[in-house]
Amino acid sequence: MAENRTEFESLGGNNLDGIGGNAKKITYTAEDGTKKSIQIDCGMKFSDKTLTGVDNYIAPLECDDLLITHCHADHIAGIIHHIQMNPDKPLNIYADKFTHQFMFAEMTKQGLPLDNMPKFHDCEDGKKFNVNGFEIEAIPVTHSAPGAVAFVVESPDGTRMMDMGDFKTTKATLGKGWEDDRIASAFKKGVDVCFCDSTSTTSAEVTPSYDMVTEGFRKILDDHPNTQMMVGTIARSAEQLFADVIAIAEEAKDTGKKPRTMILDGASLIQVNQALNKAGLSMTQECKKRTGIEVPILDAKSPAARSVPPGERVYVVTGTQGEEMAAMARTARGENRNIRPSTKVPNLCVNQQAVIPSGDNQAVVDEMMAALKNQGWEVMIPKRGAAFVRGETYYVSGHGRAGDMQKVADIAAANQPADRKCTFIGIHGDEKQTQATEEIFRNAGQKVEHITNAQKVVVSKGNVEVAKTVGTACRYAVIDKNDDFMNPDFQYIQQAYNPVAQKWVDVKEVEYKKLLVAKNDRQGGKGGKGGKGGKKGGRRHSLDMAAIAARKQATR
């Protein structure tokens, strides 16, 4: 009989080529060889289709029980495709209530039949739960998405592993978030291996809290009284949006004036707002609790929104990266019925998200901001990597930096039992980022290991070892043959990583059952409306693609 053991495997996210496609598997093997597994996250990784011909890559889904750390696409967006590839496989999802509401919204938005919906289980804070023989504790952490958690997974042999999820160590604005004590008590009970988000570890200091966004946004409000505003945001990163709500409330409190009105324009914002309400995190209510001020949050379609004086309007829109069909790009093209520049008061557009350095983003966003400027909007956009300045910074990331990792190391050092020291391993990053994380823990006197995708961490009788041989990493290429995200025609290709050639190779095309219903499927069938919504050209192409392509050609 072999010894029992607990293994961790990064199924995706410890990539050589950048962040994304996060997925992790924990397996317990008993003495008799029987195995039990659970998975944490099943995300996607963006791909530049012009270079690869692939829309995105998704991590494998290898277990029936899936814990989800938070609602970002790099942690959840693989799931719906796996349901299409394996419609009869049972799937249980364990997540925070907001994450669950958000995922349900995403799945129903794409028309997944209710019979194929996974079974959602809410993790209640402070309540441990049992999944397939593992005892799980979800500990709130702070990230840009509300409801983010770290998971402590205790295997039947007593091994305890902690996946920190995506986190930073300052307080959350909306809902629960990071508390030193909670992480300390996890270490106090003993953690054998801790896996740490490495996204921003190569940057110094601690990532500031969203209070800094509130201060920066407040300064923008002070500098722009009686101005029609349009704020670009990422819907599911609602911590940042809520920081703006607080700024609006504080302005009203200090000036004694009526608060400005937030007007949401865009499906994902309306859905996130609803998911927050259903999860008991209404932004209006939470703001009132904190400031005593009730900031009205309206829907751009509502008649009430039209009667708000232009100088009191703060439109909130999506499309910070120039996505073609999102409200910001449509406003820039003059196609948005809900938002037009005011002729009576000044107009200000704050794109509250730095350009994500991927594909054509920079050119597309530049073009969009220039078009808005031409329409008479003053435009603001934060610079990626800019220093944090109190009263000026109005965008901060949800990922911790080197200082946040140091804090985790300090908490571990102060709390871990002397006879059960934790081993730290960087995840959620490329080689440089994960190694930067491990360097910090090593310098803090902690034990450290390093893994790539498909390399196992084995814990047996308290000994932590990294397998010398690396398995074959797997992923699925998702290709939309229609090249039309409103009406996709998917193709899924399973790929395996060849470490010798250092590249991914196709294994096979995966058959699937078309369960999702595109936005235009039914309307197209009826005639009249078909073809109106789904413009060709994919997801993030906003203004003049021909001009951008020509410019790219010229600069090559």
């Binding site: 129903t108 499906a267 609803q274 751009a300 509502s302 999102a326 409200a327 039914r522």
Partner: protein, 68 residues
């Protein structure tokens, strides 16, 4: 073909065709239920649960607002 509660995609499309300018934020469940029951081809006597109402609402938001 008559619609039942679980046909949430078709229900949302019909609602959107009939009420394209309806603001969906804060719509009470009772209002959503009565709009669905009033659809010409809806035939389902059963009571909808929270899940199916959420599904109709989400899909309606998706088809009703021109954004991904």
């Amino acid at each position: 073909m008559s619609l039942r509660w679980k046909d949430y995609v078709e229900i949302a499309d019909e609602l959107n065709e009939l009420y394209p300018d309806k603001a969906l934020t804060d719509m009470p469940d009772e209002e959503l239920i009565s709009l669905v029951r009033a659809l010409p081809d809806f035939e389902d006597e059963s009571e909808p649960d929270e899940t199916v109402l959420g599904a109709i609402w989400n899909r309606w938001v998706y088809v009703g607002y021109p954004e991904d």
